[in-house]
Subunit: 211 residues, 2 copies
């Protein structure tokens, strides 16, 4: 059964908590987006985990250096997953994996901007990364790109990892994304941009569960 | 005259402000390090600028996506420079440049982890980036790497940008770094790891001014 990850992309502390409260019952993972964590800091992890102790909290740190030093406090504060860039030095990726393992968490290697995605995914999986993120960023989405070809490439490798897919997924594409091998589907604008985020999350939940 | 940038790499809010107070008179730029900004959030920019209104504040966001959305609030809060990863999509780099220009600030493109550094530096400079960062990260430094060969490559391009150099610079290497073309030298551990950070900063200032 695939998991749904809700990307909380607001910059505002209270708006982030309010959106999480609206959609939490329909999703598995609450993601604090990169601009949001830079804006609000560690205390947002603590607050979100306190409000949703039964949910998986992902902190989208997109770590590029100082892997263990940067990520460890976020696991200790209640995060279950943090992200590290596939574009980072492998020592940095290994540092995040070490911090995850020390705290019973998981490291997600985000392939955004990586040239040879198959090579990085394979190396990271070999080193113990639990999740590989196939990710078309917001700026690349604005230029019309999608994550679906990359998903096929990474799924075809048969690695012993969960594949997470992010990049404009909506109700028209979420089932095919799961069928193509995504264990985690990340949804942002399709929920927070809807008239009713809760209704949209509920609809996407039903689509994922039926996929 | 080259500028000295002090990297504030603590995670603690008060310790960051205390270190800045010790060294500010000897440096030009106060850098809030990446783990530090993720830990503390935007309010640290506001506090640091309030304490040092005459200093240049650099926020080491290492932006990888959503360039304008992520960086703009940090310029508005008092940052004069934010960093964007050279590994990012050019649309992301352009977004940070736009946010910088809209606020009278500067965008630094950090070449950490970039394969073809000359190509990215050239493209970013053409698009209006004011600063190119030659940067050997903490994890790569731990593996024995230095930024000096990359500095020679980038300086040799003759781009109309300031070159910033970071990666374990200390009193033995700071003058040769300036002489090799660095307009900004970033110092971290050589100051905050010294018995007297203020004395170390003062010594480095004299070395830079004599270079």
């Amino acid at each position: 059964m695939a998991q749904i990850q809700m990307a909380l992309d607001s910059l505002d502390f209270d708006a982030t908590l309010a959106l999480a409260a609206q959609v939490a019952e329909h999703v598995d993972i609450l993601e604090i987006g990169t601009p949001c964590i830079k804006h609000n800091g560690l205390k947002l992890v603590t607050a979100l985990k306190a409000a949703h102790p039964d949910k998986i909290i992902l902190v989208d740190l997109k770590t590029m250096d100082a892997g263990e030093y940067e990520s460890a406090p976020f696991f200790e504060a209640g995060g279950s997953i943090t992200t590290v860039l596939g574009a980072a030095d492998m020592a940095t990726i290994n540092g995040v994996i070490a911090a995850a393992n020390a705290n019973g968490g998981e490291a997600q290697v985000d392939l955004i901007g990586v040239e040879d995605k198959a090579a990085v995914a394979t190396a990271a999986a070999k080193n113990g990364a639990q999740i590989i993120g196939v990710h078309t960023g917001l700026d690349a989405q604005a230029a019309g790109q999608t994550p679906f070809a990359d998903l096929a490439t990474i799924a075809g490798l048969g690695l012993d990892v969960k594949i997470s897919v992010a990049g404009g997924i909506n109700k028209d594409t979420i089932q095919s994304t799961v069928q193509a091998g995504a264990a985690i589907v990340v949804v942002g604008a399709a929920i927070y941009g809807a008239d009713s985020p809760a209704a949209s999350a509920k609809e996407l939940r039903a689509l994922v569960d039926a996929a």
